[in-house]
């Protein structure tokens, strides 16, 4: 077979390109839902992990967040997905929901550490200055520390989202036809792995490249207060 015929077999015959698009849809759906859930969980966990009592001892929330992060980071995400699918949510056959929950819970642990690092990287003097003016800790956090922390966390958070998009390639385990799985299925149907797999790789690459460009734009806009 010529390259041309192989391309047609992989993408055109029986409208196979639609399968890739459908797979990409599922990949993005799971990635976006879990990214949002991860952001939510991660921010809450980060604030929990930064909560201390007046005497400087960690609060009970602090401990809970630490345990959560330890457990999630200490186990493989494939295993977490399988546990969610076969044990915790065994009664559900909504693969997208189960995968989004599982990846969101997983991502939350990493986002928590990213956000915590971003907050700690803001100079302590900023909090002290806010407090010295009579602003409460919460108000200083909201108006001063978090906006600066947000700027710090854009690059690592972008990294986390990119990882997340690619990590969803394992949702085939819970019988979701995502981009990777679709490519694999087409490869076995056409007896030609090259075109579908390289094609899927190119699609992932383009999506992530677009995301990278958008994140770069956001970062530049957030850095306007650094301009001298």
């Amino acid at each position: 077979m010529t390259l041309n015929e192989r391309f047609i077999a992989a993408f055109v015959t029986s409208d196979r390109w639609k399968l890739y698009l459908g797979g990409l849809g599922i990949t993005l759906e799971v990635a976006v839902f879990s990214a949002l859930l991860g952001l939510l969980i991660g921010n809450v966990l980060a604030l929990m992990k930064l909560s201390y009592k007046e005497d400087g001892k960690p609060t009970v929330f602090n401990y809970i967040a630490s345990v959560y992060i330890d457990v999630i980071r200490g186990t493989p995400s494939v295993l977490q997905l399988l546990i969610m699918w076969f044990i915790i949510m065994a009664s559900s056959n909504n693969g997208i929901l189960v995968a989004s929950l599982s990846f969101g819970i997983n991502s939350g642990a990493y986002v928590a550490e990213i956000v915590r690092g971003g907050i700690l990287a803001v100079d302590k003097g900023q909090m002290e200055a806010g407090r010295s003016l009579g602003l409460s800790k919460a108000a200083t956090m909201r108006y001063i520390v978090l906006p600066q922390a947000f700027k710090n966390v854009i690059p690592p958070l972008g990294n986390e989202f990119i990882t997340l998009i690619k990590e969803t390639a394992i949702v085939g385990y819970v019988s979701l036809a995502d981009l990777t799985r679709v490519a694999n299925q087409i490869a076995s149907r056409t007896y030609d792995a090259f075109m579908p797999l390289i094609g899927a790789a190119v699609i992932y690459f383009v999506i992530i490249k677009i995301l990278t460009i958008l994140l770069g734009k956001l970062e530049r806009r957030m850095r306007k207060s650094d301009n001298r």
């Binding site: 007046e54 100079d123 003097g125 900023q126 002290e128 200055a129 806010g130 407090r131 010295s132 003016l133 009579g134 602003l135 409460s136 108000a139 108006y143 001063i144 906006p147 600066q148 700027k151 306007k224 207060s225 650094d226 301009n227 001298r228």
Partner: protein, 245 residues
């Protein structure tokens, strides 16, 4: 105005031993006084200043501000801090806000004044320190001296009753020290109550009503500036002055 009674502050070292930074300070600051605190580094002078608005929690002792014991457990320290301005060595301007926003944030959010009134007051104060043209820039574009003058303005906008200065000129290039000291002097002339930790002995001599020498967590000597510099009593102070003057 502020009465300090037997103020102690201890820090725990990582090895478990205890570092006694303030070892019982008693002092009374009256309205309109300008107290300048000098002493070797590590003597506890900055810690003392930071205890006055509870940025540092004292281990024991009392701080009475206008008949209210602010070290008592139920005190709303935010309300107290609204009345005590503080200026830091490292300026600590809010990096994410413009100069104008830096100045008006606290008075507006704490509902001390309306946004319009805060802006008006900020404009007037910025004019006074000759920085009105910087109102809409971010702190990153300012020089150290400009940052510190704006930090002073930011505190003043809250109409504080007392101003605390924690080594306000120590992080400045030498040629910028003067512009900051000038602002502080004019503030002193207006009758503001001031507590200043500094190494600027010229400022102490010129502006202070009392100079305190703090060493090893205690006030070793207190006197009028003239007596303090011309006729130091203790050996420690004589040594210190011979090194810094």
């Amino acid at each position: 105005m502020i009465t300090v009674k037997n103020l102690c502050k201890e820090f725990k070292n990582p090895d478990g031993s205890i570092n006694k930074v303030l070892a019982g300070i008693d002092y009374e600051i009256n309205k309109g006084e300008k107290i300048v605190i000098v002493g070797p580094s590590g003597s506890g002078k900055s810690t003392f200043l930071r205890c006055l608005n509870l940025l540092e929690r004292p281990t024991s002792g009392q701080i009475i501000f206008d008949d209210e014991d602010i070290t008592a457990p139920k005190v709303n320290i935010n309300k107290i801090r609204e009345r005590m301005g503080m200026v830091f060595q490292n300026f600590n301007l809010f990096n994410n806000l413009t100069v104008m926003e830096n100045i008006t944030l606290a008075p507006v959010k704490l509902k001390v004044m309306s946004p319009e009134a805060a802006k008006e007051k900020a404009t007037e104060l910025l004019k006074r320190v000759n920085l009105l043209d910087k109102a809409d820039v971010y702190p990153a574009s300012l020089s150290g001296g400009q940052k510190q003058r704006i930090a002073i303005v930011r505190s003043l906008c809250m109409n504080p009753e007392v101003m605390l200065f924690d080594e306000p000129t120590s992080a400045l290039d030498p040629e910028m020290v003067g512009e900051v000291l000038d602002v502080m002097k004019s503030l002193a002339d207006e009758g503001m109550t001031m507590v200043v930790v500094t190494h600027e002995m010229g400022f102490a001599r010129e502006v202070a009503t009392k100079v305190l020498f703090v060493d090893e967590g205690k006030i070793l000597e207190e006197n009028s500036p003239k007596e303090f510099f011309d006729n130091p009593q203790s050996k420690r102070l004589q040594d210190f002055l011979s090194k810094v003057l």
